[in-house]
């Protein structure tokens, strides 16, 4: 300890103190402050950039999700439209068929009615024709049979016979 105290040099201590204080002052002013400021600035910049990147990533994700949602919606819409179209097509076809059937039936019915009417008319005409033909024939036959006296008498007799029977 005595040796240590004897070795202690107040002059060296003074010089060291002066050098150290001046050095601290100079370094703080010209080196440490700008260095630490620059480091802080850089670190802030980095963390800001990271935050911005994270933000962008999230936004991107959102966008992607939106896109996917939109695609899904579009697909669903398309499918719905196709289904609707198909349904409409089927309905139209069915409607057309029904209408055709109905029209056909109606026409057939009308045709049948017309045929029926024609037939009736034809029958009626035929009847009257037949009646007139048979009347003519009957006239001619009667004329032929009753051409002689005998035959007229025979007929009267016959008729008379019939009356007796009654």
């Amino acid at each position: 300890m005595d040796q240590l105290l004897n070795d202690f040099s107040p002059g060296l201590f003074t010089m060291q103190l002066v050098i150290l204080l001046v050095l601290i002052f100079l370094m703080a002013k010209f080196a440490w402050r700008p260095i630490l400021d620059a480091l802080n600035e850089r670190e802030e910049g980095i963390s800001e950039a990271l935050a911005a990147a994270e933000e962008a990533r999230k936004e991107m994700q959102n966008l992607q999700a939106d896109n996917e949602k939109m695609i899904k919606e579009a697909r669903a819409e398309r499918e719905a439209m196709i289904r609707e179209a198909r349904e409409m097509k089927e309905k139209i076809i069915a409607d057309a068929k029904e209408t055709a059937q109905f029209e056909g039936d109606k026409m057939i019915k009308q045709a049948q009615l017309a045929i029926e009417a024609e037939k009736k008319a034809a029958f009626a005409e035929l009847k009257s024709e037949v009646a007139s033909i048979s009347l003519g024939i009957a006239e001619k036959m009667i004329k032929g049979q009753l051409s002689t006296e005998n035959k007229q008498l025979e007929l009267v007799e016959e008729l008379m016979a019939d009356i007796k029977l009654n």
């Binding site: 060296l12 201590f13 003074t14 060291q16 260095i35």
Partner: protein, 369 residues
């Protein structure tokens, strides 16, 4: 630091020459006597102790045969009873025993064991008592540019250049280039591993100037001490005292009310205990920086002593093992220890800064009771 290592790697021959210089200067340093190499254990330990001391000359190499020293003198600046006196250290002619008297401004100076003494008026020679203390001389305030001061100035310049270049680098872009790129992680390390966790995110900023400067100052000086230039700055008690004093003053002046309350009236303990704790806590405020001072000083001094002792194994074991084996052993051991010392150089700088941050943190933290 990186500047230095780059410098060294670019000039391997110069480095090699410096290493050789240390080996030679160790084996041939003339301890005052011409033609007598340092080869006994007493001489070696005296030489090592001498190396640990600050020096007024910058000696790189000394020849035992001619007694010549190669290096350069440094200015001696003294604040004496008559005011400021300056001269070059070469005027002492490498005398360290008070034999050469330098006369300046009517005052007489002698250098004894690396300390400069001012002789009392009327005296012509230094008179020693039986403990080899000068009795007729006083020590003036020695503001000389000693070897340690040169080391500190060199460190200061290196630090300033290195970190100002780093600071300038940020003006060009967010990422520095070149040497500064290696310095940036160190700054971030001190900030994120030392200052922030111990002082707190809100308050650390104002202490960064001190912590960063002290960290790089100690580290660079520790590493300079490993070079063959032979600096032993951080192993000097005056230097570590100054560093610890700064920590102490910052702790005391930046301390908040809570800190003083914990010293003078510890909350949460009974009153008699509070009274007992006052002197203990007060002592604690002193022992903390004191431990900082002693730790750094002792570690760096011990490192220098051990490395130099292992180098001197080459000489002390020459008789027993032969020159080749002793040199080989010395080389392997000192190489191993030097590598260890590189680690310790960082470790001690780290510990000093870390504990300073812890003490500052204790003084400024907000207690949540």
């Amino acid at each position: 630091m990186l500047v230095k290592s780059k410098w060294l790697s670019k000039r391997p021959t110069k480095l090699f020459a410096l290493v050789l210089g240390l080996f030679f200067s160790l084996s041939t340093y003339a301890g005052g006597k011409k033609g007598d190499p340092i080869d006994t254990q007493e001489e070696i330990s005296a030489y090592i102790m001498h190396h640990l001391q600050d020096s007024h000359d910058f000696t790189l190499y000394s020849s035992a045969k001619t007694g010549k020293h190669y290096g350069f003198p440094l200015p001696v600046i003294l604040w004496t009873s008559e005011g400021l006196v300056t001269f070059m250290s070469s005027e002492f002619q490498h005398d360290d025993n008070g034999e050469v008297i330098v006369e300046k401004n009517g005052l007489k100076f002698a250098k004894i064991h690396t300390k400069i003494y001012e002789l009392n008026p009327g005296e012509d020679v230094v008179v020693f008592d039986d403990k080899h203390h000068a009795t007729n001389a006083v020590r003036p305030l020695d503001l000389s540019i000693t070897k340690s001061v040169v080391g500190m100035l060199l460190t200061a310049v290196l630090m300033f250049l290195g970190f100002v270049s780093l600071a300038r680098g940020y003006k060009k872009g967010p990422i520095p280039t070149g040497v500064a790129r290696g310095l940036e992680p160190l700054v971030i390390y001190v900030r994120d591993e030392i200052a922030r966790p111990n002082i707190g995110d809100k308050k650390y900023r104002q202490f960064m100037g001190f912590l960063l400067t002290v960290f790089f100052f100690i580290w660079t000086l520790n590493l300079l001490g490993l070079t063959p230039l032979g600096f032993n700055v951080t192993g000097n008690i005056a230097v570590t005292f100054c560093l610890a004093l700064c920590t102490f003053l910052i702790t005391q002046f930046k301390a908040n009310k809570d800190y003083w309350k914990h010293i003078f009236w510890m909350p949460g303990v009974p009153v008699p205990m509070k009274l007992i704790l006052i002197p203990i806590e007060l002592l604690g405020t002193l022992t903390r920086p004191f431990s900082l001072m002693i730790r750094l000083f002792a570690n760096m001094s011990a490192g220098h002593i051990v490395v130099m002792s292992l180098i001197s194994v080459m000489i002390t074991l020459k008789v027993v093992m032969g020159p080749v084996a002793s040199t080989g052993l010395s080389f392997v051991l000192s190489l191993f220890l030097t590598i260890l010392e590189i680690l310790i150089a960082f470790l001690q700088a780290f510990i000093f800064t870390m504990l300073s941050a812890v003490f500052i943190g204790m003084a400024v933290q907000d207690h949540e009771h």
